[in-house]
């Protein structure tokens, strides 16, 4: 830790002059350290300005052409410095030490929180501002709002259904509260039975899951519905009294990448809404 600080100081004193954040609109050099940030940059048309992304960034397909600067949890400080970025945009799980080193070296680092829908909206604004594309950011937001509203309209009058959304079975890891996925469930006329766990991801009690009788189970550990027709139910097979299991409403998510806290939020919302209330989406799918 100390060695890293000394090295950082050494680099600071000997080699580079800290790059001044440019105020101009054109040709920013941006490094993105999270898939949702990369997706946002593409959605506001700033793809030409991205000079580096993290290894988890996989959407849209054009990201293949962009250089990688290390993983989500361990961005490579040297690679990033060598790219001479004007701004590095990341999310809180990015390694704080790497972030601190970059900042010490005078590189502008912006960290956006993306836990709740409100934070996701604010993050899109911030990213648009950093990319000098405020107007595009606003139009992206209003486009997203329109799509979300259209899905909400489809659901009007739909009954409230008890929902359990998990990403792992043994142990059971469920979507709790304080995370946009919980908000999406609620907006989709669902009642998240794990919401009172009061943490975003919770190691949920299986017996509470059984006792609360979820009507829909969205299980990310089961793979995607389209690829996997083996009807793998895992632990749920042992609990035929759960309404979701009894009525065949245990679903894998189509893809986790749809459920990212970025511009594809309406896609994630539609995915969740479709799984909770399939009868409202019959004409548009299959």
């Amino acid at each position: 830790m100390r060695a890293r600080a000394v090295l950082a100081l050494f680099l600071l004193l000997t080699s580079c002059t800290p790059s001044e954040p440019k105020k101009g609109v054109s040709s920013r050099r941006i490094v993105s350290l999270a898939p949702s940030v990369t997706e946002t940059l593409f959605a506001i048309g700033a793809q030409a300005e991205i000079i580096g992304i993290c290894t988890f960034c996989d959407f849209p397909r054009e990201v293949e052409k962009i250089d990688r600067v290390g993983s989500y949890s361990a961005p490579n400080v040297e690679t990033i410095i060598a790219k001479r970025p004007d701004v590095v945009i990341g999310v809180p799980p990015n390694n704080p030490e790497a972030i601190a080193t970059l900042r010490q070296l005078g590189i502008r680092v912006v960290i956006v929180e993306v836990d709740t829908i409100e934070q996701i909206r604010a993050a899109i604004r911030t990213i648009a501002q950093e990319a000098g594309r405020v107007a595009q950011g606003e139009s992206l937001l209003s486009e997203m709002d329109t799509r979300m509203a259209a899905i909400r309209a489809r659901l009007e009058g739909a009954p409230q259904r008890r929902v359990l959304m998990v990403v792992g079975q043994e142990p059971l890891i469920a979507v709790g509260s304080g995370i946009f996925l919980n908000e999406l469930i609620t907006q989709a006329h669902g009642i998240n039975i794990a919401a009172d766990a009061n943490q975003p991801w919770t190691r949920f009690s299986l017996e509470v899951a059984v006792a609360k009788q979820p009507e829909v189970i969205i299980d990310g550990s089961m793979g995607s519905e389209e690829n996997d027709k083996s009807e793998y139910l895992g632990i749920w097979k042992s609990f035929p009294t759960i309404p979701a299991v009894r009525d065949g409403r245990v679903h894998g998510t189509r893809s986790y990448t749809v459920l990212r806290p970025g511009p594809r939020l309406p896609d994630g919302f539609e995915e969740i809404a479709r799984l909770i209330h399939p009868e409202r989406f019959q004409e548009s799918h299959e």
């Binding site: 949920f204 009690s205 509470v208 059984v210 793979g223 083996s230 139910l233 895992g234 042992s238 609990f239």
Partner: protein
């Protein structure tokens, strides 16, 4: 230390056994959800959600806690005698590291293979791989620790510690190469869990554990002689080499199976034998069966706490065993410490 009599043996073990049976019933009745045993008695069918919770979730889990806790207790007591080392615990001899590494490799590859393998294979693949890793590690460490054809405690200890460190480095390597969700799955698997809904697993594990535990308990008298020191034991006609190899193999195979079904649950195998030794003396004829019951009791209650304190969330049971066991053990060591050092 008082001399071990038949009465004391019977008294201690039956008291512990009764306490265990009572705890079993009580802990199966306690949980995150309130269920009424009377109602389950009246309608035990699996159409009744309360019966489902009792029979498919709590009972197998409590039973698994008994098996795992008991096996860890006995393995810990036997290894402390074998290695002449109070720090010895079931996870020290390397076999846990090997089992975890193989389990994790299986865990990572199953999600890659996810949609191409039948359900049965996926359910047991991780456990089977971990168990295979445990057997492989046992053989490997056994070979490495043989010095001039003899199994030396210090060599065994060092080999185990180094091998564990090596395995955890490899686990970290795997963890840094996989994606976000997989690295979480690895973390949870490493923390250990007794959650099971599968009586076949419980049945097979208990059968296996019973064989190993019975053999180890039967070695009580010879372990007593071994703790007198090598020469003393030789003079009294103990074939030390065979005994050491037997104890090591039995304990390793026991621990390997336990890690395969429940991951790394620490502290049980370390503190339960120590605690019982402080209270009942160091005679292995009593200590080994008492560690069986004591380990089971401790883990059943620790898991009940893990299931209930943060409800509807659950805590990793290894956290609870460490948080309950650690301070209590230090307190006891401070209070009764002289006894430990005199022995």
């Amino acid at each position: 230390m008082s001399y071990l009599t038949k009465q004391k043996w019977l008294l201690v073990n039956s008291a512990l056994a009764i306490a265990l049976i009572l705890s079993l019933v009580l802990c199966a009745a306690i949980g995150a959800e309130h269920i009424s045993l009377a109602q389950i008695w009246h309608s035990p069918s699996l159409d009744n959600p309360e019966a489902v919770i009792f029979f498919r979730i709590r009972l197998p889990r409590v039973l698994l806690a008994v098996i795992v806790g008991g096996a860890l207790g006995v393995a810990g007591a036997a290894l402390q005698a074998l290695l002449h080392n109070p720090l010895a615990c079931p996870h020290l001899i390397g076999v846990s590291g090997g089992a975890s590494l193989c389990g994790i490799l299986a865990l990572v590859s199953t999600s890659v293979l996810a949609s191409h393998t039948p359900e049965f294979v996926r359910l047991s693949f991780v456990s089977v791989a971990a168990f295979a890793g445990a057997i492989g590690t046992t053989v490997l460490i056994y070979r490495l620790a043989l010095v001039h054809g003899r199994l030396q405690p210090y060599a065994l200890l060092l080999t185990g510690v180094v091998f564990n460190a090596f395995c955890s480095a490899l686990i970290m390597l795997v963890n840094s190469l996989v994606d976000f969700y997989q690295s979480h799955a690895i973390l949870f698997w490493l923390m250990g869990s007794l959650a099971t809904h599968d009586y076949v697993t419980v049945g097979l594990t208990s059968l296996y554990v019973l064989i190993g535990v019975t053999w180890l308990i039967a070695q009580g008298r010879r372990l007593n002689l071994l703790s007198l020191g090598e020469e003393g034991a030789l003079q009294l006609g103990v074939d030390i080499e065979t005994l050491r190899r037997g104890i090591f193999l039995a304990a390793s195979l026991l621990v390997g199976a336990i890690v395969a079904v429940s991951g790394m649950i620490g502290f049980v195998g370390l503190i339960v034998p120590h605690l019982l030794r402080l209270v009942f003396g160091a005679d292995h004829r009593l200590l080994l069966p008492a560690s069986l019951f004591g380990g089971a009791l401790f883990l059943v209650w620790a898991d009940t706490l893990a299931r209930t304190v943060a409800s509807p969330s659950e805590l990793p049971v290894g956290v609870v065993t460490a948080m309950c066991g650690g301070p209590f053990f230090l307190y006891l060591l401070r209070k009764e410490g002289r006894k430990v050092f005199v022995q």
